[in-house]
Symmetry: C2
Subunit: 202 residues, 2 copies
DNA sequence: GTCTATACAACGATAGAC
DNA sequence: GTCTATCGTTGTATAGAC
């Protein structure tokens, strides 16, 4: 019996299966993704998939966890920047990350399956939204320590900042509704940053 | 051929099918919802479903549109209230609505299917998030006219306010992660309202 | 481990009687 | 319109050879 979670030692076929499965799941969703289409895309027979993974759920879990492992660094910014520039840089990184097609597909996929796969939902939260929140709270805390922001509860402020970034623009993009793209990201970040400065500026 | 969208004249069986389909879709998602389970739940034969709806997609669309038609009034508040109380009342209504199990299931369902069903995504947005935003922008605009809030762009402020309400609490609930419920809603609303007042208070 | 071929169940949709 | 019964397809998963 293959151990798919612990000790996934490298294997060319295994990686090809994971990549193909990831693409298919993100494209058509969990239920509509057939093992046949994954096998074809990976140029592998269906039986080979079952040699590496117990079943479809197991494969799905491995895909999600693989994607969750690569978490980004949102908050490595020049420490000489003031509050406005720091928040702007972080906000742009965060929002651009959030609006990437892959991120949106991942979000749709995991939230849809969350009621049936609580473990995956937790893994996704911790590696995605949870990590972002931690990083941003840390950055806000630093700004507070430098006297550039009135920081009472850094976690709550991170929550508010993230919320102001994840607005209608996110919702509309998530739903695939038309949007004027480039301009709007900058505009959303600017609105969030200015509101943060108004509310918590020194 | 049954017209399922226009002129859905009342029919007991038809309503039973719609209710059953709604329950099943919200429970297990689109793909996992079988026509058999809908038929059983509605105490109706499968053929009867196909007498009223063209296919599964058509039934799904009818369900979503039915749920979209009942939009709520978030912003009918006592006009004597000040900005803090007005925003608090609206915020609590909005967030409580958002965190209801049915709302969350609907959100999961529509966002997951949005790439395959753009029309439904649009209908959902307009009757849900779009309507809420319009109502809240209207309320904020009123507060501005009464001199209780510095309103430059009411739509943008509504966006920010909604974003600050739809924070980590929403994400965690959406993903089914444990949460201390009652206290947290009030806390989230309070944080959002106080930040609005700090940033846009007179 | 990897393949071809297949078993077996579930599903969407329809036929035909009433 | 509503039912029972069924068709044809697709999907997950496995058997057995190599």
């Amino acid at each position: 019996m293959t151990e798919s979670i612990r000790c996934p030692r490298p294997s060319a076929k295994r990686d090809a299966i994971l990549d193909a499965a990831c693409a298919v799941f993100l494209e058509v969703g969990y239920a509509a993704a057939s093992m046949d289409s994954v096998a074809n895309r990976a140029s592998v027979s269906k039986a080979t998939i079952y040699a590496h993974f117990n079943d479809k759920d197991d494969l799905f879990g491995a895909v999600i966890r693989m994607r969750c492992d690569r978490n980004l660094n949102l908050t490595s910014v020049d420490s000489a920047l003031d509050a406005r520039d720091t928040l702007t840089v972080i906000g742009q990184r965060f929002l651009n990350l959030l609006l990437q097609p892959d991120s949106l597909s991942m979000y749709r996929l995991v939230t849809a399956e969350a009621p049936r796969q609580p473990d995956l939902a937790r893994a996704f939260y911790e590696s995605g939204p949870g990590t972002s929140k931690t990083q941003i709270a840390q950055a806000i805390s630093d700004l507070g320590r430098r006297g550039l922001l009135n920081v009472d509860d850094a976690w709550q402020m991170a929550d508010l900042f993230i919320g102001m970034l994840r607005t209608d623009l996110f919702m509309r993009t998530l739903l695939g509704l038309p949007q004027t793209k480039e301009r709007t990201v900058d505009q959303a970040v600017s609105a969030a940053v200015e509101t943060m400065l108004r509310a918590f500026g020194p």
